[in-house]
């Protein structure tokens, strides 16, 4: 038993749901009690999907448990097949159904379903999690659909360079992109374009957008690209073992990794890697003198293994940051994360306890946090800038614009989204440095802190706006509560940087009111400052 206040990953059947929902023509019958349909909203709300996930939940209730829940499973399967006419059927169970042992997979196998391929999923809900469930589902589905194509043992592995004899362009499969994965939609577009410039076609993208028939075409490719190891590593290994298909395992996130990816792939396929002329702005932007201030910025990184490892490499090598913490919730890939951390002289944080991550974050005193949505919230509590680099997702991680993480454009996106939170900090510093210059009028407002003097119904804010205009008249100003700012009090207040001024005003007025002062002069201001800074 383990106390969990929040979890990075859902149960394994949610991973299966991600695979089913990513694909077309697949339906998933899930033996599950009422309530498990909550998982639908992950797709319809976070991903803003315009279709319901292709799932039929058996929705058993307590009163069904005494009766025949197996019959309910069979009815659900029949109804789902009749209504949705899937090209492949997944059958599985959620945590509760696992306990009642109806074995829906075996039940489905015994049913006449018109020859639809049926894949039975056994996803141990009490020991495994979402990414494992997704990887297992993709593996079982591919295996199930390809079982008749597996060549006999001893068959020589096909050459990844056979395209040369067959008089066609080389082609590869992109494996692993799924819904609720980080920026998968845009990564696929970016990598497909990148491969095209190398003269390589994409045979199958899976699971995202694939149909069962597409999975059956997987062996027709010259190699597999394991884009997201959390989801695709097991299926890539199986395709290697069973079909002799070579796998490219470099994940093209960052300039170095994208270059290495192209070299690995082209080398495998026997292609000359093309020259890319200034493919990404990241290297130049990073060398540009204005990036000097990025040097040695302390960065804390936590996410899924793939994105955390990539982020650590980009941060340390391509942006000149100092990585002060690196970790992941992906236990399946903990070894890789540990190795990456060790290279940076760090001990990897492998945990799914977000409070432990928050503590490690606080202890590392970073200047920038790269993490999941949860680290964004932790960073906010610690007052640290943060960029999101990994699932689990929030609706804002599914942007309308094109914003991949992989390839050349991905590197541009990464530069912008990591550096901007820091640049805002620099801008604040400049505002502080130049605020005494006469050109620098108080009309300039910081985008942080107090924000623009927006229209607001809050009485205190109205008072602030009213007194702000009164400063120039050099007369004492009355606030709503009858408190008066003396002329020298106002003058002292005007020396305070405008972006904290209204906060200081508010704090001072609160301080004065608590002491029943009538007039706020410069002394009051400093007394309040001293009092509040204690």
């Amino acid at each position: 038993m383990e106390l969990t206040l929040w979890t990075y990953e859902g149960p394994p059947h949610v991973g299966a749901l991600r695979i089913a929902t990513s694909m077309e023509g697949v339906h998933y019958v899930l033996h599950a009690p009422q309530g498990d349909t909550y998982a639908d909203l992950l797709f319809t709300m976070i991903e803003r999907r315009d279709k319901r996930p292709p799932v039929t939940y058996t929705t058993f209730q307590a009163r069904d448990l005494g009766g025949d829940t197996a019959e309910l499973v069979k009815r659900s399967i029949n109804q789902a097949v009749e209504r949705f006419q899937p090209e492949a059927l997944l059958v599985g169970e959620s945590c509760t159904a696992e306990l009642i042992q109806d074995q829906p997979g075996a039940l489905a196998a015994g049913m006449a379903l018109g020859g639809i391929p049926v894949v039975s999923l056994e996803l141990p809900a009490y020991s495994k999690k979402e990414n494992w469930g997704a990887a297992e589902t993709l593996y079982q589905l591919v295996r199930g659909l390809l079982k008749d194509q597996v060549p006999p043992p001893g068959t020589p592995a096909p050459s990844p360079q056979r395209w040369q004899q067959e008089g066609r362009r080389p082609r590869v499969n992109l494996l692993g992109p799924s819904l609720l994965g980080f920026r998968c939609r845009d990564d696929i577009r970016e990598i497909t374009g990148l491969l095209d410039r190398c003269g390589i076609d994409v045979a199958v993208v899976a699971p995202l957008g694939a149909r069962p028939a597409d999975l059956q075409r997987i062996p027709s490719a010259d190699a597999n690209v394991c884009l997201y190891p959390e989801i695709a590593a097991p299926v890539c290994s199986w395709l290697e073992r069973s079909f002799g298909m070579a796998t490219v395992r470099t994940v093209p996130i960052g300039i170095g990794a994208t270059t290495a990816f192209i070299e690995e792939l082209c080398g495998l396929l026997g292609l000359e890697a093309p020259e890319f002329d200034e493919p990404s702005r990241l290297p130049w932007y990073s060398r540009s003198v204005d990036s000097t201030y990025l040097t040695g910025k302390r960065v804390f990184i936590f996410g899924d293994a793939t994105h955390a490892i990539a982020a650590a490499k980009i941060a340390s090598q391509e942006l000149g940051f100092q990585v002060v913490g690196l970790g992941s919730y992906s236990r399946e890939l903990a070894r890789e994360v540990r190795a990456a951390a060790k290279e940076l002289g760090l001990e990897a944080i492998i945990t799914d306890d977000y409070l432990a991550v928050e503590k490690a974050m606080a202890d590392a005193s970073p200047e920038l946090v790269l993490g999941t949505q949860m680290e964004r919230h932790s960073a906010k509590r610690l007052g640290l800038p943060c960029a999101v680099i990994s699932s689990p997702l929030h609706v804002q991680d599914v942007p309308a614009r094109y914003s991949p993480q992989m390839g050349w454009e991905g590197a541009n996106v990464i530069f912008d989204s990591w550096v901007h939170p820091l640049m805002m900090g620099l801008e604040e510093h400049l505002i502080g440095m130049f605020r005494h210059d006469f050109e620098f009028v108080d009309g300039h407002r910081s985008h942080l802190g107090e924000g623009a003097p927006a229209i607001t119904s809050e009485p205190a804010a109205q008072a602030t706006a009213a007194t702000a205009t009164a400063i120039a008249t050099d007369t004492a100003t009355a606030t709503l509560e009858g408190l008066v700012w003396s002329a020298d009090g106002e003058a002292e207040l005007a020396k305070i940087p405008f972006f904290v001024r209204s906060k200081v005003r508010r704090n001072t007025e609160t301080y004065a009111r608590e002491r029943q002062l009538q007039v706020i002069d410069s002394e009051t201001l400093y007394e309040a400052k001293a009092y509040l800074s204690r």
């Binding site: 206040l5 990953e9 009422q34 998982a39 999907r49 315009d50 929705t59 307590a62 509760t96």
Partner: protein
């Protein structure tokens, strides 16, 4: 336990006796009963508002990773530094031996309480897996209460999906609290059901103005300050999903006041009037306080009524507020009811609402979501009330939707909120008329 709430209510002679004094149950209704896939939350979801109501309570679900994921998905947990709810996730070892599971639970509870010393009440919340493996949380609560020597009160209830739907979780949580309520036969009005604090203050103030001074609430704002209950207690349900709580309080001597629920001007007025009348307030006094509110509330609804009147409404089952909302939207906002779905129908607690619904209203109980969506597509309503899992897909099919979960998080009860309640339903329609992507 609560699996057959409806069936139990039907045969509970105590409740029948009480309700006989109230308005007669409506003539037999044609109700479409369905079973199949249900697109609803389970009772664990109600933790999301219960924990906010009682800031000194912690809700510990004893369940699986699915339970944890459900609650965090429904609640947007990330905004909390450390939420006052969590899940004791069962592992394979716990399934292997229940003795170990009990020891593990004790260990985990003690760790939790050491970390959160401000917690006064701990709710152990049963889930589907804990119910199926028959982990006895009542015994666990008893054992922990002994060990904790009164520092913290440990209660238990089930929010499992095999037994409870969405808001029924609150019903079960309140039932768990009733045995701890002190006994007192002093006259009082007891409002059961979580209300937003501001709404509760307002209702208490209005009852005060009518001359009802002793008004208490269940759940209370502090879990340790439970209201008393006894022969002098007039029980007014603020929410229509509290069947088991009503039974438990009636068993403690309370008298259930039949009324429609305080949604909309009409429902709120009748609800307050019924409560006041039960406490002996003269109708003139009730009218003196409530009539100006009714006037003002109708005025607040009027602009939204313009948007809603004549529009066709389809409510999918979810929050169990569907019948009350249908009554409000048809009678006060002029909407036409295509179908009113409810997860389960407690005819007795909803008798007043059933009386007020237009004759021939199609009510459906339970759900087969695919068939129900077929009916939605055939009927082409102007607005569909549904859960979050269905909202965007229905929008993509061209239907305006209102998510029902917002209704359990927003202050919607009382005459003063009637305008806001109408606005919640008018907004999707208004928005549709605002958007244009034409050149």
């Amino acid at each position: 336990m609560g699996a057959s709430t409806l069936a139990e209510a039907m045969v509970n002679p105590m409740l029948d006796g009480v309700l006989d004094a109230g308005p007669k149950v409506a003539p037999p209704l044609e109700i479409l009963k369905e079973s199949g896939q249900r697109e609803v939350f389970c009772g664990l979801t109600s933790i999301v508002w219960l924990h906010r109501r009682m800031p000194d309570a912690f809700f510990l679900v004893v369940g699986s990773r699915t339970c944890a994921h459900l609650v965090q998905s429904a609640a947007g947990v990330m905004i909390f530094a450390e939420p006052r709810f969590g899940t004791a996730i069962l592992g394979e070892r716990d399934l292997a031996g229940l003795a170990d599971a009990n020891e593990e639970l004790d260990r985990l509870v003690k760790e939790l309480l050491a970390r959160r010393p401000e917690i006064r009440t701990l709710f152990l919340v049963g889930s589907c897996p804990s119910e199926v493996i028959k982990l006895d949380l009542a015994k666990a609560a008893e054992r922990l209460n002994r060990q904790l020597l009164g520092q913290v009160t440990v209660l238990n209830y089930s929010g499992s999906g095999i037994e409870t739907t969405f808001t029924q979780g609150e019903d079960q949580a309140l039932v768990a609290m009733t045995p701890l309520m002190p006994s007192s036969d002093k006259p009082q009005l007891l409002i059961a059901g979580t209300l937003a604090d501001a709404v509760e203050d307002r209702l208490v103030d209005l009852f005060g103005r009518m001359g009802v001074g002793a008004v208490r609430s269940l759940p209370p704002r502090r879990s340790t300050e439970l209201p008393p209950v006894g022969k002098g207690t007039k029980l007014l349900l603020a929410q229509p999903f509290l069947s088991a709580t009503a039974r438990a309080l009636i068993a403690r001597g309370a008298e259930l006041i039949p009324a429609p629920y305080p949604l909309g001007v009409e429902g709120s007025r009748e609800w307050m009037a019924a409560g006041a009348a039960a406490c002996g307030v003269a109708p003139a006094q009730v009218a003196a306080v409530l009539d100006p509110l009714v006037e003002r509330g109708r005025h607040a609804i009027a602009p939204h009524r313009e948007t809603l009147a004549g529009k066709r409404l389809f409510l999918l089952p979810d929050s169990q507020l569907e019948l009350s909302l249908a009554r409000f939207l048809s009678r006060e906002c002029g909407m036409e009811l295509v179908e009113v779905g409810t997860p389960y129908l407690d005819r007795q607690l909803l008798a007043s609402e059933l009386d007020l619904l237009p004759a021939g209203t199609q009510i459906s109980e339970g759900q087969d979501v695919e068939r129900q969506l077929d009916r939605v597509r055939r009927a082409k309503p102007d607005l569909v009330v549904c859960g979050l899992g269905l909202a965007n897909p229905l929008e993509a099919e061209g239907f305006a939707t209102k998510w029902s979960i917002e209704l359990v998080f927003s202050p919607i009860h009382g005459c003063d909120q009637a305008g806001d309640l109408a606005e919640l339903f008018a907004r999707p329609l208004r928005r549709r008329s605002l958007l244009s992507f034409a050149a």
